[in-house]
């Protein structure tokens, strides 16, 4: 019954009886030195000095154009980087490229020349686990302070050792070259980490020449809360679920919880009752609306520069959604509502009242959106600021691994809810929103239109729930008290979060806690595109681009 179940039947046999793994191994020939089987995809083991060859081949000849995630981990006897590859056109076709390196010389070739997105992912792997990447353009710490000692997700890290963090002035990276020429007047500006326009604690190191941005570097890590460590310390059954709420904390809680629920359910082979899937779908879409509302409000805040009507209107609509979610889950933001195998409780009684509340909200939504369109999208000032600014061509977006509204605003028709369907989405009638303007305006439009689509989904869910026979309201499957997935099972699964593809990699080691828990954050990849969109543009456009990316630092830094 569950959709996940069908997909986790690995390895997928093709008609000829040759598995996808064999096919790809044939393609790579001698480059493959071993095989692994991950639950989501075949794994090909590659030597650390041939990574680029293998990835180039997979990208150019087999069409794997999406490097979704890079997972690094340390075993007792080796380090390992895993490149999770998939395709924008066919999300279910996946392959993991596994690159082991030795303990005493953890050097591996960088994938950055093949996929631009590997740049940050490998920096993170270096920072937290300690693998070195040869050929990497700029291998330095990304999340922790430069002066940090040790690699915290390594096996022998001592958490008690003292550390020192510095507060020093940042140098203008262009100052020297330009001074030599004698005619430059570039100026270095720190935007953040405490700045109203950065949506949290992001630090954008900007160099401007006049009003144009000539160099830009996003410095992150000001909210690195060790989410992966926290999840590795928690037991599958109950202790991990509260944390996803706090990754993307803009009320996208249920969407994030679903990422964990989906991964762990596939890992432990748990079926979710249909009724629970519908509740999940409805809750998740409510979260998406709440999240897009804040994106809208803060974007207007960035562009207009004050707490004006739009921000307040967006907050007003969000309040309504939050009230509904509170009725459903008991909390305004940190829901902790999903359980493995279902949800924690049924809809609130009296049900009619709840349905009415949701319906009222949905009925009011078209009018609210009309208002937004009057105030935002048809406003000349906003159009002048956003149409044609922050351009992100689809090819660039793909190579940075951009997903979610950012990708869909660049004309990439990619949505995991449809392409790698889970929950109840493929039973419902809705559309994936794509705009091909590639600019700030398209990204804004995508979000606004997605709100309408979400409303459609919720509407259908409410209808279904209302008619659901009373004795079949099964909200949770039977799940053992402690889950101990088999040793060395590895899985990487993703869902469509509010900001894009939110993936989780788990490696089980036979205990009730994951041995490695890696989070693929959509914002992390999306934020990487900022220099592409803003270098050479005016500085106000950079702020608009940053707003249109709709990042949330809790998820960027994790």
């Amino acid at each position: 019954m569950s959709l996940e179940e069908q997909q986790s039947d690995e390895p997928a046999e093709l008609e000829s009886g040759v598995s996808r793994g064999d096919e790809l191994a044939d393609l790579l020939g001698d480059l493959v030195v071993g095989r692994e089987e991950h639950m989501n995809a075949p794994g090909l083991v590659i030597r650390p000095d041939e990574v680029q060859d293998a990835l180039f081949k997979l990208r150019d000849e087999a069409g794997f154009d999406h490097l979704s995630c890079v997972t690094a981990q340390e075993y007792e006897d080796r380090y390992e980087s895993i490149y999770h590859l998939t395709k924008f056109d066919d999300r279910t076709d996946e392959v993991s490229v596994v690159v082991p390196t030795s303990k005493d010389n953890p050097v591996s070739q960088s994938a950055e020349p093949v996929f631009r997105t590997a740049d940050w992912h490998e920096r993170e792997a270096y920072d937290l686990v300690g693998i070195q990447y040869e050929d990497h353009p700029d291998l330095r710490r990304i999340l922790l302070p430069d002066t940090w000692q040790g690699h915290p997700l390594g096996l022998d890290y001592d958490q008690d050792r003292p550390q020192i963090a510095t507060l020093r002035e940042h140098a203008n990276p262009l100052e020297e070259d330009h001074r030599a020429a004698g005619d430059s007047n570039t100026m270095y500006i720190n935007i953040g980490p405490h700045h109203p326009a950065t949506h949290g604690v992001l630090h954008v190191e900007t160099v401007v020449d006049g009003e144009q941005v000539v160099d830009l570097d996003a410095d992150i890590g000001y909210l690195h809360r060790c989410e992966e460590q926290m999840c590795q310390q928690g037991t599958y059954r109950h202790q991990i679920m509260p944390y996803p709420d706090r990754w993307d904390y803009i009320s996208a809680g249920l969407l994030n919880e679903w990422a964990y629920a989906r991964t762990a359910e596939d890992l432990a082979d748990i079926d979710v009752p249909e009724y629970a899937q519908i509740i999940r779908t409805m809750g998740a879409e409510l979260c998406r609306i709440a999240s897009h509302m804040i994106a809208l409000g803060t974007f207007a805040l960035d562009v207009y520069g004050d707490f004006t009507a739009i921000f307040m209107y967006a907050m007003r609509d969000r309040e309504i959604v939050q009230n509904i979610l509170e009725d459903l889950t008991g909390q305004r933001m940190m829901f902790n509502y999903f359980r493995l195998g279902g949800v924690v409780w049924d809809l609130p009684e009296p049900r009619e009242e709840f349905f009415e509340k949701v319906r009222d909200f949905l009925d009011g939504l078209p009018q609210a959106l009309e208002e937004y369109h009057d105030m935002i999208t048809s406003n000349e000032i906003l159009q002048a600021r956003t149409v044609g600014t922050g351009v992100l061509p689809p090819e660039v977006a793909k190579s940075y691994g951009a997903t979610g509204p950012v990708a869909r605003g660049s004309g990439i028709d990619y949505d995991l809810r449809r392409d790698d369907s889970y929950g109840y989405y493929d039973e419902l009638d809705w559309d994936v929103v794509v705009e091909d303007g590639c600019d700030n305006f398209s990204r804004l439009l995508v979000r606004m239109r997605e709100v309408e689509e979400s409303a459609k989904i919720i509407q259908q869910c409410v209808d279904l729930l209302e008619d659901w026979p009373e004795d079949e309201r099964n909200i949770q499957a039977n799940v053992p008290r402690t889950l101990k997935p088999e040793e060395d099972t590895e899985i990487y699964r993703a869902v469509e979060g509010a900001k894009g593809e939110l993936g989780i990699y788990i490696r089980a080691d036979g205990t009730d806690k994951p041995a490695r828990f890696k989070i693929r954050s959509p914002c992390f990849s999306n934020l990487q595109t900022l220099p592409e969109m803003s270098e050479g543009e005016y500085i106000p456009d950079m702020i608009a681009s940053l707003g249109s990316l709709d990042i949330v630092l809790g998820e960027v830094d994790r």
Binding site: A165, T166, R168, E169, H224
Partner: protein, 233 residues
């Protein structure tokens, strides 16, 4: 290089550091003001004037627009319609710390951010007040065991009001702020704990293994914050 790092140690900062030190030593309370000195020693006027000033302070608070993590979303809701903090004379977020007198710390503080937060706090003019929002600012909250997480805002700056919750509801935040206003109006100043984590010049640190190791990377007069994780609660 070292001369370029000077701007961080402005005279301004020094004044603030002195005020803070005086406060910690108990020689000076936080409601000090130049005007008060000007009024001289007439006890009647002094008390009345103090009362008046305190009432003014409590009734018109400028908050710093300062968001860190999840709690800041609820903080935005508190500022926005429905909860509308402005009704309580505390709803104008200021973008610059130099114009603000209350800082709400809404979120988890991590090692990279703590020195920056300290700097922002130092830039606020006296008298200033701190509201710690959420369990993260009490103890590190859900992330208490993290390798990178400061176990509470009080390790870095003094906190006047703690609001528990994860995140606290907007109503709770309003209640906390109302309590703060009450305390200010009564002229109560909160005890200033001596904080374990201070911004210091690297050259002032006691030499030990890690200091020696980093000596090549950090200048003597760079400002640093040294964390002793083993002693953290």
């Amino acid at each position: 290089m070292s001369s370029e790092q000077k701007p961080f140690v402005t005279d301004d900062t020094q004044v603030q550091t002195e005020t803070r030190d005086a406060r910690m030593a108990g020689a000076d309370d936080r409601f000090n003001s130049k005007l008060r000195e000007a009024f001289g020693s007439s006890p009647f006027i002094l008390t009345k004037f103090d009362k008046f000033m305190n009432w003014v302070r409590g009734s018109s608070m400028f908050m710093l627009q300062f968001g860190i993590a999840c709690c800041s979303i609820e903080m935005m809701h508190t500022y926005a319609i429905k909860h509308d903090l402005d009704r309580f004379a505390a709803g104008v977020p200021r973008a610059s710390p130099r114009q603000a007198d209350v800082i709400i710390v809404p979120g988890t503080i991590v090692s990279k951010f703590a020195p920056r937060m300290k700097r922002v706090y130092d830039q606020m003019p006296e008298p200033k007040f701190v509201v710690g929002m959420g369990s993260c600012t009490i103890s590190g909250g859900p992330f208490q065991e993290g390798y990178n997480v400061i176990k509470g805002a009080e390790e870095v700056i003094p906190v006047d009001i703690h609001i528990p919750g994860c995140p606290p509801r907007p109503e709770a935040l309003i209640y906390g702020i109302a309590k703060l206003q009450e305390r200010i109006a009564n002229g109560e100043s909160s005890p200033v704990t001596v904080k374990p984590y201070e911004l210091e010049q690297f050259g002032d640190l006691e030499s030990d293994e890690i200091v020696d190791k980093l000596a090549a990377q950090i200048d003597e007069d760079d400002l640093v914050m040294r964390y002793n994780w083993a002693d953290s609660p």
